[in-house]
């Protein structure tokens, strides 16, 4: 009985997720065919493709992980107090506030990212005010900087961080917090010894749901960045579509995925949460 329930969905995932990954792995060691025709590649098991790709795009790799890490930390710093306020300080407005956290999702994220570009752009209100106050020079911009890219990613993944943290905070039995108070610990100690450890599963889930898509993202870098803020996603995208160099794109995709999986595994082990699904 369980196998019958599993069959169609698992087949779908095996055919359209696992097999493409196998195929991608196979593509990653191909080389350009002698005919030099675009899109023609032959299998030569050239594992050096990985080394070449990594060497050539090492800055973009490093940048992707640094940006993703910064965005994750910033999102955590914004989302944790927000989730805490919704879980413990919102009273009867709790459900409304939760809906408000998800609500921005419903406007296309591309429209919102483009809105940031215009708000922060050279003709936008923020730059105008800062220039009038002489806080920035007449040539300084906010968009087309790494700051704007990280800010955009922080913004786009903020609900992914807030919701799991809220869920784990909301599950905490208020009696535990009372007990901690009764044992003469002050607010800070209660938070450090009781609330925060109990919210760890939410923090782990939230940081993963932010870090993983952020590391592979190229939309924020393309809209809010400049050529020197390119991430690995931008490279994979252009290798695929503009340069039609499937082996390099495949090798880069695999390196990205493997790096993320290794980091995620270490992180989950160290944080001591195992049931993720």
């Amino acid at each position: 009985m369980p196998y019958l329930l599993l069959l169609p969905g698992m087949l779908w995932l095996i055919i359209f997720f696992i097999l493409p990954l196998v195929n991608l792995a196979e593509t990653s060691t191909k080389t350009r065919a002698a005919s030099q025709e675009t899109g023609e590649f032959i299998q030569t098991w050239r594992f050096a493709n990985y080394l070449d790709a990594f060497k050539e795009y090492q800055p973009q790799f490093t940048r992707s992980f640094i940006y993703a890490l910064l965005a994750t930390l910033l999102a955590l710093a914004i989302a944790y107090p927000l989730a805490y306020a919704i879980a413990f300080k919102s009273g009867k407005y709790k459900n409304i506030l939760l809906i408000l956290v998800i609500a921005p999702f419903f406007t296309s994220f591309l429209l919102r990212t483009i809105a940031w570009k215009q708000i922060l752009g050279a003709e936008g209100p923020v730059v105008f005010v800062l220039r009038s106050l002489h806080l920035i020079g007449p040539d300084t911009t906010i968009t087309a900087t790494s700051f704007a890219v990280v800010m955009g990613m922080t913004y786009n993944f903020l609900p992914f961080m807030t919701l799991p943290i809220y869920a784990s905070l909301d599950r905490i039995d208020p009696r535990l917090l009372e007990a901690s108070g009764d044992l003469y610990s002050n607010g800070v100690t209660t938070f450090r010894k009781v609330t925060f450890p109990l919210s760890m599963p939410g923090v782990v889930a939230g940081t993963l749901l932010t870090f993983i898509p952020a590391a592979g993202d190229y939309v924020n870098a393309a809209i809010l960045g400049n050529p020197t803020t390119k991430m690995i996603g931008n490279v994979i995208d252009s290798r695929f579509f503009r340069i039609v160099d499937y082996p390099t794109a495949a090798a880069l995709s695999f390196t990205l995925m493997a790096t993320i999986l290794i980091l995620v595994t270490i992180y989950i082990r160290r944080s001591g949460t195992d049931e993720l699904v």
Partner: protein, 266 residues
């Protein structure tokens, strides 16, 4: 002065939360405001208030074709992904079987894989098989990445069911089918509805995977992306704002319906 600072420190976290909400809503407000902009083709600078974009949301070329494609892809993918995912969720929530941990892994992996890898690998396979990217390849891709999210959402609901309710039904001589139809399914239904809503919004808003697999078919996010090079027309803002309002109404109505039901049952 002391009063003020005390009020401030007591409400610090509320102020912080309010600032976070402002941050969340600045671009939404901007998008909505510029849906009323009396702009030409390039909706970059405020030119004056007008309702004509709302009166004629399909005014920009291609925008409604793209919206229609997004809705079609969203509905088909949501339907199939919700059915397949719910079946898996029941299997995982109800049965112990061999291969459980590998099943869990295959469910988890698509969520831990960056979208660009999902999109690129699927496109590479389609190209190898001689399948041209387009409408159906996009639907296939959307179903693939929605299944995991459906499983996680529905499984949580299945796991939280009180087994006593089903026992009670069986004690009252309901057979397996009746128990499922009258007890289990209605109890899990809110979880399935939430999963479907999630799947639809993931599908509707997806850009990266769609961009890889859609070929010449334009979806709404793809339309925004393509037109962003020259300036997004105000009609796109109208559609974005309208989607926002419609979704908000659905969610709030669902909330009220849930509250009302909870009150009746008390």
């Amino acid at each position: 002065m002391r009063e003020v600072s005390r009020w401030f420190s007591r409400n610090l976290i509320r102020i912080y939360a309010a600032l976070a909400f402002i941050y969340l809503f600045i671009p939404v407000a901007y998008t909505m405001a510029f849906s009323f902009n009396d702009s030409g083709k390039r909706n970059l600078i405020w030119q004056g208030f007008t309702l004509k974009n709302w009166a004629n949301p399909c005014g920009a070329p291609e925008v409604c074709t793209a919206l229609g494609n997004s809705l079609k892809i969203g509905v088909i993918s949501t339907l199939i992904a919700t059915i397949l995912g719910t079946m898996i969720a029941f299997a995982l929530g109800r049965y112990n079987f061999r291969g459980r941990s590998s099943t869990n892994l295959i469910i988890f992996l698509p969520m831990a894989t960056p979208e660009i890898v999902l999109g690129a690998s699927l496109l590479a396979m389609f190209l190898n098989l001689g399948i041209n990217p387009g409408f159906w390849p996009t639907v296939i891709a959307h179903i693939m990445f929605c299944i995991s999210f459906v499983v996680v959402t529905v499984k949580a609901r299945v796991a939280s069911l009180d087994p006593k309710l089903e026992e009670a039904a069986r004690d009252l001589y309901a057979n397996e089918y009746q128990t499922f139809r009258r007890v289990t399914f209605p109890l899990v239904l809110p979880g399935i509805a939430a999963a479907a809503l999630l799947a639809f919004s993931l599908s509707f808003d997806d850009f990266i995977i769609t961009n890889f697999n859609s070929g010449t078919v334009t979806t709404f996010p793809k339309f925004v992306w393509i037109s962003s090079a020259r300036g997004v027309p105000a009609q796109a803002n109208v559609i974005g704002s309208a989607m926002f309002l419609i979704a908000l109404i659905i969610v709030v109505a669902g909330q009220f319906a849930g509250n009302a039901r909870a009150k009746r049952n008390r």
